[in-house]
Amino acid sequence: MNAQLAAQLAIPLAAIRDCWITGGSAAALTPEAWRPLIAGVSAAEGERRLAALAGQAWEVAFRPALPKDAARQKDLPRLALPTLPDRLRPLFRHALRQAPGNDRYAVLRLAERRGFSAHPLDWMPAASSEDVPDLYAPWQDWAQSLDQEDKDKGGGGDELNEDTWDSFYPAQRRLLLKAMRRQEPARALVLIAARAGQEAAEKRLALIETLAIGLGDGDAPYLQSLASDRSGKIKALAARLLARLRQASAGTGLSPEDLAELAGFFERGGKGFFKRNAAVSAKPLKSQAQAARRAELCDQSSLMELAAALGLTEAEFIDGWQFGGQDMSMLTPAADDCVARMAAQSSADEFVARLANRLMANRLVAEKELNPSLPVLLPRLDRAAQQRVMKKILAGQNIQNIQYLSRIEHGDLAQAGDILSSRIYGALKSDIKGQMREDKTPLALALVNLFAGVATAEAARAVIDDLAASFGIFPANPALAFLRLNYELANAAV
C-alpha cells in the first residue's frame, strides 16, 4: 500500500468519478503523473485508459477504512464441555430442526449428557431466551452483552460475592448462584438477600427463583420479608416457596375475597363408608369464563392456601382430590390441571410426589393411560419418579403422550426392551404402517424420534434398526435424526 500515492490521488480520482457520474469527458482531470499515458491518443481512447487507470488505482493504492464506531465484541466464552465433533454437527443440526420450540432443549440436554456442547454456529441462545440450559449461560450473557454499552463485565472470575457481583452478567450470575445453592445454600441466600433488592423486578424475580434449589427452613425469614416487596410476582413467588416449606403464614397475597372465590370453585365432602375421609372435588362450571377465572386464581394461590381455605391440610387435599370433575371434557383448563399446576408451583417435594402417585394410579383415566395432568409435575420429580412416569407413558396407547418425554430431564432411562415391547411403540408402528400405505412421510416418525431423549444409546439404535427391518425406513431419514444423534454421540464419547 502506498499511502502517499493514495493521498495524492484521492482528490483527482473523486473529481473524475464525479465527472463521470453525470457524464462527459474527464480528460482535463487526469492526474499529472498519468498524462504521459494518455498523450497522443484519441479522446475516446484517452477516456478508456483513464477508466482503466482509475479502477486500478482504487484497487491497488487504497484501503477501506474501518468506521470509528465499529466495535470489537468480547470473546465468546468457552463452555465447560467441548463442542461436538465436526462430523456429527450436520446430524445435530438436523435433530435441532426436527425439534420445535423448547423441545430443542431435549437435544441439547442429550448432547450435554454425552459430554458435548453445541457448536456456536449450530446453536446459540438468544439474549432473551428463557430456561436456557445452565451449560449455555455464558453464551447467553455474551449475547446480552452485544446490545449493552457496558463491555467490561465478565472479569470477576468464577468467584461470585458481593464485591464481584457487578462484574458478572445476569445469566452467569444466576448460574453461579444455582451452583452455590447446591453446595452452600446459606451463603447464596445471604448474597441474594444483600443484592437482589438493588436489581430491577424481572432480574430480582430470576434471582429469587434460584432459592427453589436446596430450599430449606433457613430461607423462610427472607422469603417472609418479601411479602412487602413492591412486585406482585415476587410476592407470589415467595409465597409459593414458603408454601413448599409448609409455611403459609405469609400467604400469597391473594385477597380474602379472591381466596373465598377460589374456594368457592371447590367443594368438600366425605368419602369412605363412614364419610370420615375428606373428599375434595371441583364444582361444575357453567362457562369458559368461569374456568378461566378459576385458573387465574389458582395460579395466584398455593395448594396449601386453598386447602386451608377448605379447612384441610395439604396432604388431606391431595389424598381427597376427586379426579375428573364434571367440567373436564368441556372446559379448559380442567380442574385437575389447575390443581397439578398449583402443586408444581407451590407444594413441597413430598406433596408433589404424592400427587404424582395419585395421578399415576388414577382409575378414571383409561387403564394404563397417562393422566394428562401429570406432565406438569415432571420437572419437580426425581429421576426414579420421572422413570415411573416414562414407563406409564410407554405402557399406554395414546401416541400423543410421547411428546411429554421431552419434558423428562433425566436420560438413559429406557432400555431397548422397554421401548420395543411397549404398547405405545406398537401403536406408533401401526400408525406408521398405515401412513406408509398412504405413501407419505409417516407423521408418526416424528413422535418415534422423541424416544431419543430418554433412550440409552443401545435403545436408540435398536429402534432405528427395528424401523428399518419393519418398514425399510432408512437410518438417515431426517425424522430420526435425534435418535441417530443419541447413539452416534455415545460412540463419539467413547
Binding site: W20, A52, P64, D75
Partner: protein
C-alpha cells in the same frame, strides 16, 4: 470414496431435500435400480410423464438427474445414494445403458469441478479415459496426412474467423464503454441491466461469449453494493474491461486472455497444453459458491486451498451446467481434505484447475502447518499483489488474512479487521457474519476479495474450523 450416511447428509443442500429423498429411498419408487461397480443408476417416477433418470457415481460422488430441480443434489440423486449406501435394496448388476454412458462421456470422469465448459466452449468434452493420447493422434495423422492437413487448415480458418469476429466485438465494446462514461454513470447504474444485456448479446453474436457472460452479471455485482458505491464500482468494472481488450489486442492467443474473452479450453486442451502445471498435493475444500446466472446456467465454484503450498496456493474448480442437466462433476464437502493431482489452466497466476486424480487424505492437516497465513499485518491486502500484476481484470480473488476479528459498526455492517498492525483498515463483508463469529479471535481467515467486499469462505477459530461460505 464410497457413500456413507454422514457424507450424504453433508452433501444434501437442505433438510427438506433429505426429507423428500427419504420418501423416495424405497425400492417401490424405482422402476429400475442397477449398478456397475461404483456406478449406480435408476429410473424414478416423478410428476413428469416419463420417469427421471438418475445416475450416481459413488467413486467420486458425481451425480446427474433429469428432473428440473435446482437443488444439487436433488432428492432423486440423494435417494439413489441412500439406496446404494444402505445396501438393503438389491441393485441388478449390468452394463450401463446408453444414457448412462452418455453422461459418463460428458462429465470428464475424474475431472471434477472444472470439467464444465461455459456454453461457448468448442467441444462437448469426453471422459478422461477417452482422451486421445498423443500417440493415437499421431497414428491417425500418419494414416491420412492429407485429411489431417485439410482438418488443420479448416481449423486455422475457423480460428481466424473467430479472431476477426472477436476483434469486431471488442471494438464495439470499446465504443460502448465510452458511451457509458459520456452519458453518465448515474444513468448507467440505473439502467445497467438493460444496457449490459444488449451489449452482452452483441458479444455473444461475435463469439466473445465469456466476456458477454461477465458483462451480463455486472448489474448483479453492482446491486450488491450501496448506492453511493456503485459509480466507483462501475468505473472499476469498465476499467477492467478496457484492460482485457488491451490484453486481447496484444496477445489474442494467450490462453488466459482467450479464456476471459472467448471460451475456456476443453479438458483435453488443458491437459495437452505445454504450460499446464500439474500440482499433486493435499487440498482442503474452502467452500462452494453456487450461482444461477441470468442466462440460466448454474455456475458452481469450488474453492480449494493447497495444504502444502510450495506452489499454487489456491485452486478454483469451476463447473457450468444448465439447471436441468444436473451437476456433472464431483461433489465436495466444505472442510473436507483430500489428496489430488490438479491440472491448472495456463495462466501467469494459475488459479482455475481440473482434478486429474483424487484420493482420500491420509492425515488431516491443520492450517497452522501449511504456512499460508499471511504475515502481512501492515497491509492485509498485500497477498493480492500477484493478481493485480498478473490478472488485473479478475473480478474476485482468494485472500488469506492474518489473525483478525469480525467487528460490527453501529449500522450493523460487519467488517474484518486485523488483530494487530493495521487496525485502521477494515474490509467490509459481503454478507452479515453469523453472530457468534463476532466473539471469536480468528487465527486465519480465507475469503474472496473483489476490491470492495470480502466474501468469507472459512476461518480458524478457538471453536475450530468455521465454514462461512
Amino acid at each position: 470414496m464410497p457413500f456413507d450416511l454422514k457424507t450424504i447428509e453433508a452433501l444434501a443442500p437442505d433438510q427438506a431435500s433429505l426429507g423428500a429423498a427419504s420418501k423416495l429411498a424405497k425400492a417401490g419408487k424405482w422402476a429400475r435400480l442397477e449398478r456397475d461397480g461404483e456406478l449406480y443408476w435408476g429410473e424414478c417416477q416423478g410428476s413428469g410423464a416419463n420417469p427421471y433418470r438418475v445416475i450416481v457415481d459413488a467413486g467420486d460422488r458425481g451425480y446427474k438427474c433429469t428432473c428440473p430441480s435446482r437443488k444439487f443434489p436433488c432428492k432423486h440423486a440423494l435417494a439413489l445414494m441412500w439406496l446404494g449406501a444402505d445396501g438393503a435394496v438389491s441393485f441388478q448388476t449390468g452394463a450401463p445403458p446408453e444414457w448412462v454412458t452418455d453422461w459418463l462421456g460428458r462429465r470428464r470422469k475424474g475431472g471434477g469441478g472444472g470439467g464444465g465448459d461455459e456454453p461457448a466452449a468448442s467441444s462437448g468434452g469426453k471422459s478422461i479415459a477417452a482422451i486421445p493420447t498423443t500417440e493415437m493422434v499421431e497414428t491417425a495423422a500418419a494414416e491420412d496426412p492429407k485429411a489431417a492437413a485439410r482438418r488443420e487448415a479448416a481449423r486455422e480458418k475457423r480460428a481466424e474467423n473467430t479472431r476477426a469476429a472477436i476483434a469486431g466485438a471488442l471494438e464495439e465494446l470499446e465504443q460502448w464503454i465510452n458511451d457509458q462514461l459520456r452519458l453518465g454513470l448515474a444513468a448507467f447504474v440505473d439502467d445497467a441491466s438493460e444496457r449490459c444485456r444488449r451489449i452482452a448479446a452483441r458479444l455473444v453474436d461475435q463469439k466473445a461469449a465469456a466476456l458477454a457472460s461477465r458483462i451480463d452479471e455486472m448489474p448483479a455485482r453492482l446491486l450488491e453494493l450501496r448506492n453511493e458505491e456503485r459509480p466507483e464500482a462501475a468505473i472499476r468494472e469498465l476499467g477492467k474491461l478496457v484492460l482485457l481488450i488491451k490484453a486481447w489486442a496484444a496477445r489474442p492467443d494467450d490462453p488466459e486472455v482467450r479464456r476471459q474473452v472467448a471460451a475456456s479450453e476443453t479438458r483435453e486442451q488443458v491437459i495437452g497444453h505445454p504450460d499446464t502445471r500439474v500440482v499433486s498435493s493435499a487440498w482442503e475444500v474452502l467452500g462452494e459458491k453456487i450461482q444461477t446466472r441470468r442466462d440460466g446456467l448454474v455456475r458452481h465454484a469450488t474453492w480449494l486451498m493447497n495444504l502444502k503450498p510450495e506452489e499454487c496456493r489456491y485452486a478454483l474448480l469451476l463447473d457450468f451446467y444448465p439447471a436441468s442437466a444436473g451437476k456433472r462433476s464431483e461433489s465436495f464437502i466444505a472442510g473436507e481434505q483430500f489428496e489430488a493431482a490438479l491440472a491448472f489452466y495456463a495462466s501467469p497466476v494459475p488459479l482455475r484447475a481440473l482434478v486429474v486424480e483424487r484420493s482420500p487424505a491420509q492425515t488431516c492437516l491443520p492450517w497452522r502447518d501449511t504456512g499460508f497465513v499471511s504475515n502481512a499485518t501492515s497491509d492485509p491486502l498485500s497477498p493480492c499483489l500477484p493478481f493485480w500484476n498478473g490478472r488485473p481484470w479478475e473480478i474476485e480473488w482468494p485472500l488469506a488474512l492474518p489473525p483478525g476479528r469480525i467487528v460490527r459498526d453501529k449500522g450493523g455492517r460487519c467488517w474484518w479487521r486485523a488483530e494487530a498492525g493495521a487496525e485502521s483498515i477494515g474490509l467490509p463483508l459481503a454478507r452479515e457474519a453469523p453472530l457468534p463469529v463476532l466473539g471469536m479471535a480468528l487465527g486465519a481467515t480465507v475469503g474472496l476479495w473483489n476490491g470492495m467486499r470480502l466474501d468469507l469462505l472459512a476461518a480458524q477459530s478457538p471453536f475450530g474450523r468455521l465454514d462461512l461460505s
